[in-house]
Structure formats: structure tokens, C-alpha cells
């Protein structure tokens, strides 16, 4: 068992009187394909926002790659190696597909703005490297054909793929995917599952994903954490979670015994 890449201890956030995330504990081992599920409003996206620094917890600790990250800027956390996608797609709509991916490399740029303006050799070499790696990422995600299109004009499923491509450009150790399959047709979903697996197997990226498509989650994830009303109610391998009475109750209400749709 490897060292957890992301560790949450007693993570709590309150919005007014509502405790959106309540003492959440999480240990995400490096190289795992993990899932975070739960009914609507369970606090899944809030968890992602906490991990990536977009909102600050009221209580609790977060450790990423051995370093405490509570209170850091989102850009700093990203530079440490945590990337994410957004549930409500947030691409740079007027920028081309290629530029969206290139933006992802900017956080790792070493040249300062003056050497960029003066096109000093160091910057030119970096820019060339970024262009090449952006080409590779577009190839991996199957978006090469669309590289010059404005991101806002892509089909829904392609926009989701571009979100992943852009996140990959930041060279992440851990990638958080917020409902990557939402709005995709079955064929696209199959392609997505293959892509996510390749991220882990070939690039060695740890993946944590939120998804409502249960078939997708159950087939893909090795470890699943279930949230309800901000609390972790179950965790384990897919087949264990599926049979867990607390999970069934959270999804279907008390007294039903059908199990989670699979």
C-alpha cells in the first residue's frame, strides 16, 4: 500500500447554518482510480472545491503529496500537481481548443514576461515544448481535428474531453473529474472510460471522479467513497458499496431493498 497522495482529516465546511461537508476523512492512495458518489446535494462538488482551494474549510486538515494545502491559492495547489475539471463546463470559450490546452502549461512556465516579450531563447524553447506537448495531449484525447476551433463551439461531450485535456496540461499527479460523463452518449462514455484508464495506466495519474452514471463508476473505479448530507456513509470496492444498506437507504430512501441501479 503506497502513501496516500491526498489525505483529508476532519474536513468540515459550513455555509450559514448548513454543514455542507461534515468531518470528511479521505485517504487516496497514489495511482488509484477512485470514485466519489452520493445523491444530489451530498457535498461532492464542495469536496472538490475544498481540495482545490476554491473554498476554505472551517475545520480540518488537507495534505497533498505530503504537504498541508489548506489556505493556499488554487493556482498554487494546481502547481503542486492537483488538477480538476468542472461540472458546469468552464472552458475559455473564445480561445481555440489548442490555446485552452496551452493555457494549462502556463503555470509551469519558467521564463518571466520580459523574456516572453523579447522572445529570448529560453522562452522560445519553452514555447516550442508547450506546443509539442499540447499536440500530444490533443492526440491522446482525440481532439486534434478541432485544434483551431473556438472551445465554445464544440459539442458537449467534446467540451468535457477538452476540460480533461486542459487539466492534463498542468502536469498533474492527481486529477479530479467532476461528472466527466454527464451529457455524453453511451459511445462517448465508453471512450471516456478508456481514456481515464489510460491516464492512470500510462501517465500514472491518480484519478478521483464524481459521477452519477453508476454503470460507469462501478466498472471503472477501484475504490468508492459515498457521501450523504456531507458525511461519508460508506467506502470500499464497488461490489461492497453497492450492497451497503446505508448506501441503499441514502439513494432510495428507507424501506426499499432494490440496491443501487447497476
Amino acid at each position: 500500500m503506497s502513501q496516500p497522495i491526498l489525505q483529508a482529516r476532519g474536513l468540515t465546511v459550513r455555509f450559514g447554518g448548513l454543514t455542507a461537508v461534515d468531518r470528511v476523512e479521505l485517504d487516496l492512495p497514489e495511482g488509484q482510480l477512485a470514485g466519489l458518489i452520493g445523491p444530489n446535494g451530498a457535498g461532492k462538488t464542495t469536496c472538490f472545491n475544498l481540495f482545490t482551494g476554491r473554498i476554505k474549510p472551517n475545520e480540518g486538515k488537507l495534505t497533498f503529496a505530503g504537504q498541508p494545502i489548506v489556505g493556499l491559492r488554487p493556482s498554487r495547489i494546481n502547481q503542486l500537481g492537483m488538477a480538476r475539471t468542472f461540472q458546469n463546463i468552464r472552458l475559455f470559450g473564445e480561445l481555440s481548443v489548442l490555446d485552452n490546452v496551452l493555457v494549462g502549461f502556463h503555470g509551469g512556465l519558467k521564463s518571466n514576461f520580459l523574456s516572453a516579450i523579447l522572445r529570448l531563447p529560453g522562452y522560445v524553447a519553452e514555447e516550442r515544448g508547450m506546443q509539442r506537448r499540447a499536440g500530444e495531449i490533443l492526440e491522446l484525447t482525440g481532439l486534434t481535428r478541432l485544434r483551431d476551433e473556438p472551445a465554445g463551439s464544440l459539442a458537449y461531450g467534446q467540451q468535457r474531453l477538452l476540460e480533461i485535456a486542459r487539466a492534463l496540461a498542468t502536469d498533474p499527479k492527481l486529477i479530479l473529474l467532476d461528472e466527466p460523463a454527464a451529457g455524453m452518449n453511451p459511445q462517448e462514455t465508453t471512450g471516456l472510460a478508456a481514456l481515464v484508464r489510460r491516464l492512470r495506466d500510462e501517465l500514472g495519474v491518480t484519478v478521483l471522479l464524481i459521477e452519477h452514471d453508476m454503470r460507469f463508476v462501478m466498472k471503472l473505479c477501484e475504490q468508492i467513497t459515498v457521501l450523504d448530507h456531507g458525511k461519508v456513509i460508506a467506502r470500499g470496492a464497488p461490489h461492497q458499496v453497492q450492497r451497503d444498506p446505508a448506501v441503499i437507504q441514502a439513494y432510495l430512501g428507507a424501506g426499499e431493498g432494490e440496491g443501487v441501479a447497476s
Partner: protein, 378 residues
């Protein structure tokens, strides 16, 4: 795209993919870099020849107007960097122009001239005791203005959107009020007179060239992509590792530097400055220029500035008495502003996103449109 459903008229529509003027996919920029650099140098030489001819043959009035045009183009391009490219709607350039104008003028005015101007309260030492040439004065003015922007950025960029506009508007007014009241430095409402008339075509166009060099290259670098990413979606940009605060500061400070230098040149063109010159109306005019040109387009900012400068003068015709179909129409003062406003309304109705939208000039686009170069279907 869903965000601009009205973009079906005019140049913007023609420039869109599939539009009449759209040459289709352009070759990647890095393939044509050397050719483009040569073309740019050639165009600069041609422009220099044009300026030389203008200086020798055109009237003083046209030369003056062409200088004003270049200075406004510099201001517009700088202002567009923060407002259009980075998408931070700010309203303070009048403060930066004022700062640059006052600093430069105070540095270049001779001690005798200063003593003659400051009649109510003498100018504080050491400013009263020396003067320096224009070029170092401009650099100092630019750096001081940039420093002011840098310090201003810390409180200002804590807010966004409408709030940012209001806060920066406040700062702009503060500077004007300071200029009005700090008599021992600015000579108060009397202003500074007798500033040497040094700015000519070469100074003003030289500054425009330097400004374009820096800003166009910044916009077309990784930093420019980061700035545009902040405009498109700040949350996503932060999540992709871009420190939005420092990048806004970069755009803000760089634009302030050029606005300060342009202010200095403006002072040495009109030779008299006073606080009333740097009211919100200056900012307002610049805002019109960049919105009409196309917010976010550097080419649009330059185009807008020259249209604004020359257009305002050409429209003087409508204020003169004229005979129309046998009717004697007396000259109506202020008529040109009415016509000007109507034109603005027209532009904003038919070209929602300004004349150029967010399109920018590039040699690749021009050559491909003309059916030349690697961009065409050969």
C-alpha cells in the same frame, strides 16, 4: 456562439469562419515567423517614409493631428490590455495620463520657467532647481506611473466587475483632485505652462511602435493566453495554475507605464496642462475608442484611436454654414458631436462587438486573404 447571437452584420460577420473575408484555416504562426518579421520591418520602413513625407509636405494642422492620433493609439492599446485582453473593466487611465504628463513636464521645464509659472506657491525643492532632457524624463514618468499602478493594484484587484470599475473610477478622481490642490507641486488649477514643444511625428509614432512591440508580443505569448484565460473564466484560470492576481497586476502595471509615457508626450505636444484636462472624460473617450474598435483587439484599438482623432476633425464640416437644396443652413455649433454620437449608436447596433470584434491583424491572415502564402489552398 451563444454568447453573441447578434453578430450577423458587418465586418465581424465577414471575418468569422465561413465569412466572405475569412480565408479559412491559417498556417501555424511558428511556420511563418521569419517571413512575418521581415514584413513587419518592411511595413515599419514604409510607415517611416510616409511620416517623413508628411513632415515635409503636410500642413502643421495635419501633422499635429497625426501626432495626437498616435498618442491616443498608444493610450488605447495600453488601456485595451487591461480592459479588453484581461477583461478587467477599469476606469482610471486619466489618472495615469495625468501622472505621466505632470512628472515629465516638471522634469523638463527649465528652472526659470518654473519660477515664472508658480506664482501662488513656489515649487518645492529639488524640482525647482533642475531640468533634464525629454527621453529620461519620459522613462522616469513611465516608471513612476507603473509604480503608482502597482501600489494601486493591491486594493483594487480585491474586487471584480462593476466594483472594480467604481473603485478605479474613484482613484482616477483622487489623482485629479490631488493635482488641483497640491499647489506646491502641480501649481493647482493654474496648471503648467510653457512646456517645450518637443513631441513631433517621430516621438509620437516611435512610442506607438515601442508600445505595439511590447503589447502585441505579450499578447501573443504564453502570458497573453493566461491574460485571456482570466478574461474568459477567472475561476478556471486559477484552477489551471494561473495566479490571477499577479497576472492582472502585470497587465495593469504595463499599461500604466505606456499611459504615463504617452501622457508625457501629450504634455510636450500641447505645451500647457492643467487638472481640467484629465477628467473622467479622457477615460470615457478612450473607452469609446476601444469599444468601437473592438474590445480585446489591439488592431481595433489603433483603428479606433485614429478614427476618433481624424473623424472628430472631419466632422467639423457639418458645423459650417451650408446651402442644402436652396436652403441656407446656419452653422450649428456642437452639431458634430450629435452626428458623432449617432455614428457611435450605429456602430454599436450593427457591430455589437465593435468594428473588429476580437480579431487582430496578422500577416498570415492578410496574405491568406489575398491568396498568397502558405495559408492559401495552393
Amino acid at each position: 456562439m451563444p454568447r453573441n447571437p447578434h453578430e450577423k452584420f458587418g465586418l465581424t460577420a465577414l471575418l468569422k469562419p465561413g465569412g466572405l473575408l475569412s480565408p479559412g484555416a491559417l498556417p501555424p504562426a511558428h511556420q511563418t515567423r521569419r517571413r512575418d518579421t521581415m514584413l513587419t520591418i518592411g511595413a515599419c520602413l514604409l510607415a517611416a517614409l510616409g511620416l517623413w513625407l508628411l513632415e515635409g509636405h503636410a500642413s502643421g494642422y495635419v501633422v499635429h493631428l497625426t501626432c495626437v492620433g498616435a498618442i491616443f493609439a498608444t493610450l488605447a492599446v495600453s488601456y485595451n490590455l487591461i480592459n479588453g485582453v484581461t477583461g478587467q473593466f477599469s476606469l482610471e487611465p486619466n489618472a495615469f495620463v495625468a501622472c505621466g504628463a505632470y512628472v515629465t513636464a516638471l522634469l523638463t521645464l527649465s528652472p526659470a520657467e518654473k519660477e515664472a509659472s508658480f506664482i501662488l506657491e513656489p515649487l518645492i525643492w529639488p524640482l525647482s532647481a533642475f531640468s533634464i532632457p525629454l527621453l529620461p524624463a519620459l522613462v522616469i514618468a513611465g516608471l513612476l506611473t507603473a509604480l503608482m499602478a502597482f501600489l494601486m493594484g493591491f486594493p483594487v484587484f480585491r474586487v471584480r466587475g462593476d466594483y472594480l470599475a467604481i473603485v478605479t473610477l474613484g482613484f482616477g478622481e483622487v489623482i485629479r483632485v490631488v493635482a488641483n490642490n497640491a499647489q506646491s507641486v502641480t501649481n493647482g488649477p493654474l496648471g503648467l505652462k510653457g512646456i517645450p514643444h518637443i513631441t513631433n511625428l517621430w516621438w509620437s509614432w516611435g512610442l506607438l511602435a515601442v508600445c505595439l512591440f511590447f503589447i502585441v508580443r505579450l499578447v501573443h505569448s504564453s502570458y497573453g493566453r493566461a491574460l485571456m484565460a482570466i478574461r474568459e473564466d477567472e475561476t478556471a484560470a486559477e484552477a489551471m495554475g494561473i495566479n490571477a492576481f499577479w497576472h492582472k497586476m502585470l497587465a495593469f502595471t504595463l499599461s500604466a507605464f505606456f499611459e504615463g509615457v504617452a501622457g508625457g508626450l501629450l504634455a510636450h505636444l500641447i505645451t500647457t496642462i492643467s487638472p481640467s484636462l484629465f477628467t473622467f472624460f479622457l477615460t470615457f473617450n478612450l473607452l469609446i475608442i476601444i469599444v468601437v474598435g473592438g474590445l480585446g483587439s489591439t488592431t481595433g484599438a489603433v483603428l479606433g484611436a485614429f478614427l476618433f482623432t481624424y473623424g472628430g476633425e472631419w466632422l467639423r464640416v457639418v458645423e459650417e454654414p451650408m446651402q442644402l437644396m436652396g436652403l441656407d443652413i446656419p452653422g450649428i455649433p456642437g452639431m458634430r458631436m450629435v452626428i458623432f454620437s449617432l455614428i457611435l449608436v450605429g456602430v454599436m447596433i450593427f457591430l455589437r462587438r465593435g468594428i473588429l470584434g476580437r480579431h487582430d491583424f496578422s500577416w498570415r491572415w492578410l496574405l491568406a486573404s489575398l491568396g498568397l502564402g502558405r495559408g492559401s489552398k495552393a
